[in-house]
Amino acid sequence: MRSEYEVNMAVERYADTVKRLCMVHLKNTADTEDIFQTVFLKYALSSAEFESREHEKAWFIRVTINACKDLLKSFFRSRTVSLEELAELPAEMGEDKRYVLEAVLSLPDKYREVVYLHYYEDYTAPEIGRILGKNLNTVYTLLNRARQQLREKLGGEADE
């Protein structure tokens, strides 16, 4: 089990990452709180040794995505929450940022996470494949389709 200090440091380092992943996958604040608790409790109870900060970050991303998927799969949730509504965005966000985020969040779930990992976290397709446990070709396909859809919504060239 990890010390309180280690947990505090992890929250300071990865809370924003977990929050963004929650936004990519979930729709409301209550679910985000659940995911935060699940992820950081898992970290506190885990004795996994990390080789580097990057390794640790990848662990948090994988655990957060899995926790989000578990939550979405749960029987109770599937009956009570609409999956169509858009995630709550910060009220003070600028117009362009809001527009871009809404475009990303309007993509199907499987595209949203690869867009986040590739465009924001700068992971390569093989890295994304390892984190998500997906075949490399699948990742390439997902990225290409996501890019096409984003280009339609936002205009301009992706990956330039």
Partner: protein, 255 residues
Amino acid sequence: MNERIKSAFDSVKAEEELKEKTLRYVSSRTGKRRPAFRAARLLPLLACLALVILAGGWAWFSPSATISVDINPSLELWLNRFDKVVQVVGWNEDGRELASSLDLKYMDYEQALEEIMASEKVSSLLADDGVLSLAVVGDNEKQCGRLLTGLQQCTAGQGNAYCYSADEEELEAAHSLGLSYGKYRVYLELLELGSDISPREVNGMSMRELRDMMESLSGNGETGSPQAHAPGGGQGQGQGYGQGKGPAWARDGEG
């Protein structure tokens, strides 16, 4: 587009409240108690509070002036800067007896003095023409001046009461001989008049006896000036015995 996506995600941050809530939850589940507030944030406030309490305690409990009361019981009232008695010290047998019979701690000095003067021992000595010496000793001129005025008012009805003030050095010299300040002054006067009396003998005698001894040594039947001026500028109260030389201890401070 890359930059627009990056910048858009960058503006999403985890709220402090969410972090706090998560940490409290993890603590509660792992058995490590986490307070509602981070204690570290309160440390400067607690440190200031502790300092204020310590400073207040120090100001309250540390003596800043002494009133030496001598008639035969010799005792000293140690006062804090608020003129409250923080300690009572008996300097001879009678003094210790009187100190233990009265509960003067944390009393205002005027009230404490009234209690002393109303005690059986002191009131009977005063009724029997006893001499009461009251000395204010301290380095704080303002406080000493205030105390001296207060003492003079307290003893205004007592013909044989003498009030004066002195400084800390003299008090220390008195204590080094095992004497209260009032008796130390008389002891010095007796030495000056040629007596070979010991501090121990002085300590056992009443102020009336010592005063009589001074009068006989000075070969003068008169008992001093009606007003005993204090070195610090304070004025004493005394009975009107005329303008004779009188004992020097009762004349101190006269221009």
